[in-house]
Point group: C2
Amino acid sequence: MSYKSPDIHTEKASYHHGDLRNQLLSAGLEIIKTQGINALSLRKLAEKVGVSRTAPYHHFKNKNELLCAIAAFGFQVWTDRLKTIQDKSNISEEQRFREFAQSYVDFAVENPDLYDLMFGQPIWKESHNTGALKKDAYPAFQYQRDFIKSWQDQGILPEGFSDLRLSQVIWSTLHGIARLVIDGIYLQTNDSKQVAEMCDCAVKLFLIESQSQK
Amino acid sequence: MSYKSPDIHTEKASYHHGDLRNQLLSAGLEIIKTQGINALSLRKLAEKVGVSRTAPYHHFKNKNELLCAIAAFGFQVWTDRLKTIQDKSNISEEQRFREFAQSYVDFAVENPDLYDLMFGQPIWKESHNTGALKKDAYPAFQYQRDFIKSWQDQGILPEGFSDLRLSQVIWSTLHGIARLVIDGIYLQTNDSKQVAEMCDCAVKLFLIESQSQK
DNA sequence: AACCTATCTTGACACTGTCAAAATAGATCA
DNA sequence: TGATCTATTTTGACAGTGTCAAGATAGGTT
């Protein structure tokens, strides 16, 4: 999971610096993963890439736009994972739903700071440049909604609600679990057993089949 | 919903400045409510209260500790609202559950920046001084858990799970809805009709009685 | 009256995001 | 080829941030 330059000559490229934009994104993502989102400053990032403080401003309007670009990458990764889940054959639909739910929380727990960036407020609240971000984020949302709708059609998720509402609520549940876990509220990130149990509990609550156990 | 000084002489008090600590908390809360959490800087806060930049450091170890104190106040307010819900008589338990869920999201939507502070990472991730914060936060969590347990005992919430797990998942759902809404992800804060519908959907999913509709 | 100690201020440091103006160098066209 | 254009990068600067160290102040205590 890392940025790749579009060309082969990643090291030294044609223009002044070459693919500064890509390297900024790549280095930014690495800082986020290793030192956390709060440790990412434009200046340190520029230094890491070996360029002056203001060079990034010729590739991103401001810091927020750079963060949006990294977050967009995160959404691409998550969308890919959704595709993988969709493409799995010889698997029951209940199992696919379980995997979807568990994968969602896993993705957040494995990339807490990236997830934090993807769903942190600064990015979404600034109404300026979120257009590019939404372009990558909405497919993921749509994917999830399509999943839910298909499970409703197949009768393993309740049909008393619109697919929009149900997908919003299920998403909220997974998002809420992810947030509480990675923010260290009430429970700890490293307690993977408890996290898995929470996912399992959520899945069972939604699945129609296991309602008899209630 | 505002800080009150313990004494009557709020204006000018005994010591150097008087109840600087309380005024810092009060002014900080006001900034958060009016200008948002990101607009709150120690320096502007000090200026607002009419004191030098470093004066707050004699009442709070650092900025995080001040934020924790404000967040703790938020938890007190929320706990009070939980009590109000608990004390309501001539109301069905299903209705009490509905009200609990709706109130949770309402509280977040009405005080987005305070909620953001209460459940934002910086506060919870710093392991130093969260002791005082937990003292005010955990009663709220416990309250919620007791609610869930009582509803399980009364047979309106599924009993196939431990009250801990179920309360964690229900809390996650409400927290997730709240976060998605106030962070402006996918839906807008001001679309109160949609938010209410999401709450209603979540409530129906959890309540045993409405399972037949599924 | 002398001291103590909590409180507050001034000065300073390192860090941040961002703008304006100058410098550089690849690309384009004569 | 050489001149010019334009995208890119740099240097300098500004306002703002959290926080520390050292000094000033003033109420409470002996």
